[in-house]
């Protein structure tokens, strides 16, 4: 925690919304392994215990320090990206967490991108939004972090990163999947400028 702050700052800036205890899904651009920790660290302390980042099982669920951080500190919801069992729904653990009242942090691109601006979003966000209409959706833009730890780098370069939280959005009635995902992506991009 304090190490993250020392290395990359993680200063929050609430632009369109305020930090409240409402149940939320924070969704943002994914450029670095540290995104998860940084976004989580930027939340006020009292919200952190109730907010669970969603992360790929194949990367985080391993013995050693990485797994320990994921399980004990961040209380991560593991998602199976491999789809070994074609009938299993990868969103199931997320639904489970939402039903238990947790807020979630997700990166809908599904993988890290080299550019600061996010690529197309995967459909998981849409499904969650339609099944849990009462949960507030908050777009988040993480600035600068892609420069701290580019893909393949071992050590992060210290840098000041800002985490910008945008205005609450929700699925409009009758809005179709692609339109919604594009709108969500645009909301993140708008925070970048």
């Amino acid at each position: 925690m304090w190490l993250t702050r020392l290395l990359v700052g993680a200063y929050p800036r609430w632009i369109g919304s305020a930090p409240t205890a409402a149940q939320r899904i924070y969704f943002g651009n994914h450029t670095s392994h540290m995104d998860t920790v940084v976004l989580w660290a930027a939340l006020p302390e009292e919200l952190r215990s109730n907010t669970r980042p969603v992360a790929a099982k194949d990367y985080w669920d391993r013995p050693g320090i990485r797994g320990a951080i994921a399980r004990d500190e961040l209380n991560v919801v593991m998602v199976d990206r491999s789809r070994e069992d074609p009938n299993a729904d990868p969103l199931e653990p997320l639904r489970d967490a939402l039903e238990h009242g947790f807020s979630l942090i997700i990166f809908p691109e599904g993988t890290r991108s080299a550019q600061p601006l996010p690529g197309p979003f995967k459909s998981g966000l849409y499904h969650l939004a339609s099944e849990f209409p009462q949960v507030e959706l908050i777009p988040v833009y993480i600035e600068n972090l892609h420069r701290s730890m580019p893909k393949g780098a071992l050590l992060p370069v210290p840098i000041i990163s800002t985490v910008r939280f945008g205005a609450v959005m929700s699925l409009a009635p009758g809005e179709d999947k692609d339109a919604f995902l594009e709108r969500a992506r645009a909301a993140v991009i708008r925070l970048a400028s």
């Binding site: 700052g9 200063y11 420069r147 580019p150 893909k151 780098a153 050590l155 370069v157 210290p158 000041i160």
Partner: protein, 318 residues
């Protein structure tokens, strides 16, 4: 003056604390007295400087109580935060990653360890010579030569300003001046006091005298800078008893600090602009806005160190 170093130090810190307290009170009072928006803005800056002085004071007292190593750690952290800020504003490519990793994790500790072991000649050449030659090698090996010179220059500049220049401030405390043994931190305190007082006085006189704001700093005017600098130098002269200098030497050295400090802030304002920054972080939280606070120090510290070393250490031994 028969006070021990400890007593002198505490007395000066106490006086500064008192001064800050008075300034805090005056600042709050003045905000309620004026409605002119330009003056209000300057007062706001002044009040934030005074608030900053409290935290600097606290850090300094703790560091002094813990000894010279703590002083080095404090300034090493300042270098770290300054470099972090510099890098945040500088566009970097991913192939510069290794150069920056070296800068943060090797150069900063090495520079302060060299200082800690008192290797003045290595300390003064490490970054401008050895690191200067090493960094381009690290980047060139990656064979990404696009805008090579520009990228290297930015990393080198960041290191010179944030690490090399800032590390000369604690170096002032380690100068082996004959007849002044064990009182090094007092000289550092003298240096910091002159810088800080000049800064505050310049803003104060700018607010009082008015006039057109400077391009390099919207909080200061030309008259304000002149009057503030003159008074800052007088403050330094008045503090001659805590230095190894006579009163006229203290005046000259104060003028050196004030003059180079002013040039430093002008140059850093230009650097800031050419990096395309809207501004350095203006929020001062001890860990942010470090470059903004230390802009004058970056130029004043190395020059003060060199001049003092030449005339009071090297020449004195001849």
């Amino acid at each position: 003056m028969n006070l021990s170093q400890q007593e002198t130090f505490l007395a000066v810190l106490g006086a500064v604390a008192l001064l800050s307290a008075v300034a805090t009170g005056l600042g709050q009072w003045a905000v309620h007295q004026t409605t002119d928006s330009a003056r209000l803005a300057r007062l706001g800056v002044l009040n934030s400087r005074v608030r900053a002085s409290w935290s600097v004071l606290a850090v300094f007292t703790i560091a002094f109580a813990l000894g010279p190593v703590a002083l080095l750690v404090v300034f090493a952290l300042a270098s770290f935060f300054a470099l972090r800020e510099f890098v945040s504003l500088t566009p970097i490519k991913s192939s510069d990653h290794w150069a920056l990793v070296l800068a943060f994790y090797l150069v900063i500790p090495a520079q302060y360890v060299l200082l800690g072991f008192g290797r003045a000649s290595v300390f003064a050449t490490f970054i401008p010579v050895y690191v200067f030659l090493l960094l381009p090698v690290v980047v060139a090996i990656r064979q990404d030569n696009e805008r090579f010179l520009e990228r290297i220059a930015k990393v080198q500049w960041g290191l010179m300003i944030s690490v090399y220049c800032i590390s000369h401030a604690p170096a002032i405390a380690t100068l082996p001046i004959r007849g002044y043994e064990g009182r090094g931190p007092l000289l550092l305190l003298f240096f910091l006091l002159v810088l800080f007082m000049t800064d505050v006085l310049q803003i104060l006189f700018s607010a009082a005298l008015g006039g057109r704001a400077l391009k390099s700093n919207p909080n200061k005017t030309a008259y304000g800078v002149l009057a503030g600098s003159a008074c800052g130098a007088l403050v330094g002269t008045g503090l001659w008893w805590m230095t190894p200098f006579t009163w006229w030497q203290a005046l000259v050295m104060s003028l050196v600090i004030v003059g180079t400090g002013y040039l430093g802030s002008v140059v850093l304002a230009a650097v800031k602009q050419s990096l395309g920054a809207r501004q350095w972080d203006t929020e001062f939280e001890l860990t942010r806005g470090v470059l903004e606070r230390l802009d004058a120090l970056t130029f004043a510290a190395p020059l003060f160190w060199q001049i003092t070393r030449y005339f009071w250490v090297i020449r004195a031994d001849v």
